[in-house]
Point group: C2
């Protein structure tokens, strides 16, 4: 099975109401007066990190990418569980893990450590506490809303290519936890940009049943000469959100478009209709 088929099969299993139909980045679990936000993301050698990557960077990124999902829900970290396969440079892995847990105030809750052959796959479960209810979803974008992005895309791409000042953007991304908490009360929809701006915007448009009309000239990119690539590359972990056009935003953000009624395509880049996920960004599977 490929990834879309497998996820479709998962959606046909008994789902918890907090699973949000497996259409969102996180599960949302309400317990008494508390609401938890829970996510689990994996990183595999060869797919998500190079066999010669600094394992401290890998640990950092494993934490950061999961916490980025919490950021998109306006949640504050409670703790993480690590699923670890023993291997090379485990001491460096521990060092990067220590730095990330300290940087984001996310203590270790538990996990599992195993031995296994072949390329390694590492998993992390991040648990957060919602700071605002209802917890933002991908599906709430309203016609007439503005579309915003908290920062430029394409920095991770340049960092991956080795441009010195962008290396940290690829190796040590920062989840937008502060921004997510500040924005949660006023957004109509929010998600993190992990797989590329266009692909993630498409997902928000599909989940919300609207068209997102983006102005290519308004999108902040790390390299203006490579706009098409910057808006398709992933790993930047900025927040993409919609809110009433007149909203007074509590954090700096770039207005990159407008939500319109669903037209023939879920996404408009200037005048160009876009809808084929295969052309929009990075997909696993």
């Amino acid at each position: 099975m490929n990834e879309p088929d497998f996820i479709a099969a998962l959606r046909a299993l008994p789902l918890h109401p907090g699973a949000r139909g497996l259409m969102d980045d996180c599960a949302v679990l309400t317990l008494g007066t508390e609401t938890l936000v829970i996510t689990h993301d994996m990183m595999a050698e060869g797919t998500h990190f190079r066999p010669d990557a600094d394992m401290a960077d890998v640990a950092w990124k494993l934490v950061a990418t999961n916490l980025s999902d919490l950021a998109a829900k306006g949640a504050e970290p409670v703790g993480v569980l690590l699923g670890h396969i023993l291997g090379r440079d485990d001491a460096r892995f521990i060092e990067g893990l220590r730095e990330a847990l300290a940087a984001f105030d996310a203590p270790l809750l538990g996990g599992d450590t195993i031995a296994a052959a072949g390329p390694r796959a590492l998993g992390l479960t991040a648990i957060g506490r919602a700071t605002h209810k209802p917890v933002p979803e991908r599906s709430g974008a309203q016609v007439g809303d503005g579309v915003w992005l908290t920062g430029p895309v394409g920095r991770a791409m340049l960092g991956f290519e080795g441009v010195p000042e962008h290396r940290a953007a690829f190796n040590r991304p920062s989840p937008r936890l502060t921004e997510g908490r500040a924005l949660a009360p006023l957004v109509s929809a929010m998600m993190d940009v992990s797989d590329g701006l266009l692909l993630d915007a498409l997902r928000m448009a599909e989940a919300s049943g609207v068209t997102l009309a983006l102005d290519p000239q308004a999108i902040p990119v790390a390299d203006a000469k490579r706009l098409d690539q910057c808006i398709r590359w992933g790993d930047d972990y900025e927040l993409l959100f919609t809110a009433p056009a007149a909203a007074a935003l509590p954090v700096p953000a770039h207005r990159i478009g407008t939500v319109s009624a669903r037209g023939p395509a879920p996404l408009l880049l200037g005048e160009t209709p876009l809808g084929d996920p295969a052309t929009l960004g990075y997909r696993h599977g």
Copy 2:
């Protein structure tokens, strides 16, 4: 790093109080009036399942082993998050997952699906709700308590070897969720037997600072001629617990020993002192 070194390094990281020092099977997270019990276990091809295993059995066992950790805390399942690597027989995997989630009333909350090369490693995070507080620990065994086991050990070993009537014990273990909930209010310590009775009893003795004196003739085993192997093989997922000797047990269980003050060895099997983990059961790493 080997597994003990890696876990020692994890223990030196910032830990959540609910991590219980990474000495227990689960994290315990109190939120308002609710207490959650959370665990994450992995299974790797080649280490935990054979490359030709029925992936429906693998999915079942992945769920069952995690829920067994919840059972040992007297917790009832809330839901699970799956970390999946795409590969052969994914439709069978989905089928076994469906059966396990239905059998144990544990709906899917979320997770991640990725592509990766090489042998597969699958992860599951199980979240449960404590039904009794304080939540049982490994560390509470008291001098004078009895030691009990909910059922025989060695069935999974025979199943692994191909004995027809024990195959299900290996391929489709049943977490003792009902027994765990019934026992939680009266046990002084409880854990599931996943890595072998002797090794897990040693861990309970070490965590509690006592000696567990076990009567080899009282231990229920699947094959009396192979006692030494039955009490060292893992994968049986019975519950091991201590309680006041006069406790009226709400479920059937086998009294296999007594808790005594810490002697020269943490474990006594009849007259034989045992303390070297390398001789007691199965360890990864």
